[in-house]
Amino acid sequence: MSIEVRNVSKHFNAFRALNNINLDINSGELVALLGPSGCGKTTLLRIIAGLETPDAGNIVFHGEDVSGHDVRDRNVGFVFQHYALFRHMTVFDNVAFGLRMKPKKERPSEKVIAEKVHELLNMVQLDWLADRYPEQLSGGQRQRIALARALAVQPKILLLDEPFGALDAKVRKELRRWLARLHEEIHLTSVFVTHDQEEAMEVADRIVVMNKGVIEQIGAPGEVYEQPASDFVYHFLGDSNRLHLGDDQHILFRPHEVSLSRSELDDHRLAEVRDIRPLGAITRITLKIKDQDELIEAEVVKDHDSLSGLVRGESLFFKPRPSVVNGQR
């Protein structure tokens, strides 16, 4: 089911959370709303769900204006950052909740509910936890249960609010890959909110970059990274260095967009090595150049020629090689 957001604005007292947002999400797409905290991404998600009412604008699901519909009638699955599981219910009862709350006429029999719940628990690979209570589960398990619970009522749209935000780094990585695979299987139109650009790049079909209540750019992960529409997008989507050229001119480049050499080369600048950090496949070197207080970070493969025997305080020659032409910024 497609989602259209039309001219949506929202204020919280004097704070402008969303300013005239327009967004089209295609059926079956997995879209990330990416931005720093306070950019309005969660508010937008909650407005799509019907948990928040916009001051102006409309939400359209598959051609039907649902702006006036209550959250109960929108048929969306919502996954919360802190799981929001019912703690006095077992995992099984949590997942069964939506089905049991249906009006008598539509409510399946307990037998059908049990089959459905076990099917969902198998899908999230946690069927063996059916009789446990939420507090007996790890964070990652809880979030998968929350997802199974949301999917039980067969929503037309799945909305996830920072779904991995409360998890530790390793679980987070596992779970987002799992989510991407799951989305490939069930192809449910999904929107998820995140402030982690890596997460958005890894999981989403398209990324909506937001800042201060407006959309800065919409595009595929490669697109927003390679062709950022603004300085904000450029900075937000990855680490960046700024090299001043004098006369208020500067260039921006990413840490890996650099050429390093131990010996002097054409167009290369002299810099002092401040720090060397091996990070696995790559090594990060912090450089200080003479006319600039801002440090430069360069990342090269760990067996790069320039690294052999390099120690702090030595000199290196570097040259930015930005792939994005951004000399005018």
């Binding site: 769900a49 948990l51 959250v71 109960r72 969306v76 699955g77 919502f78 919360f80 802190h82 929001a84 599981l85 019912f86 703690r87 006095h88 219910m89 077992t90 909740f97 939506g98 709350m101 249906k102 209570y133 007996q136 929350a146 619970r149 949301a150 039980a152 009522v153």
Partner: protein, 272 residues
Amino acid sequence: MSRRISPVIPGFGLTLGYTLVYLSLLVLIPLGALFLKTTDLTWAQFIQVISAPRVLAALKLSFSTAFFAALINGVIGTLLAWVLVRYTFPGRKIIDAMIDLPFALPTAVAGIALTALYAPKGLIGSLAADIGLKIAYTPLGITLALTFVTLPFVVRTVQPVLADIPREVEEAAACLGAKPLQVARHVLLPALLPAWLTGFALAFARGVGEYGSVIFIAGNMPMKTEILPLLIMVKLDQYDYTGATAIGVLMLVVSFILLLAINLLQRRIETP
């Protein structure tokens, strides 16, 4: 290799010792003396005292009015806690502070004030009389006084638990299609029930023993509006100390059984 983490408060022996000494001085010894005093009576005499019609009528009245007062506060108190936790409005802090006033006020003052208001000639009592309802000098008046005195219990036990239930849980239920009543019935109430039962039990226990506020509004007619604590006072006035202690023991035993039952019920609910 495992190492014991030393507890914050030192010494199990010491703390248990303190606990037992305090409990003994304040609760066990006085209550024990009460039981001991009743042994002046033979078993047959004891049964005779506590099965007197006047005692049984007062017993029924005391426990039923305390029960209904606790039940009313169970409903109203939960609503009050809900409003105080979930909404911000001007004067919320003041109302929150007012909840505890029934504890601070001398109960006799409360009793007299309520009687003045709800007596047939009183401000509210006269209105009630117009529709044929008599409040003061009836079990209804007693329930009213007990409701006033035990108001804080349910509010104060439910309030923190309610504050602890994140809004998201209600939103999650709504997203799953649950209607407001279903959310209350299936999500909020089960989470509140253990705390609610504690509040109910406290209010009930307090109501059973309440004396000061009730005697003014009750009218104290034997067999009709006479509560057990008053009957004990009557016996004392007649220098019938063993009779008074017998009734005291009866109250204690019945209260203890009821509170124990509530506690067991709570255990069953709380154990996942």
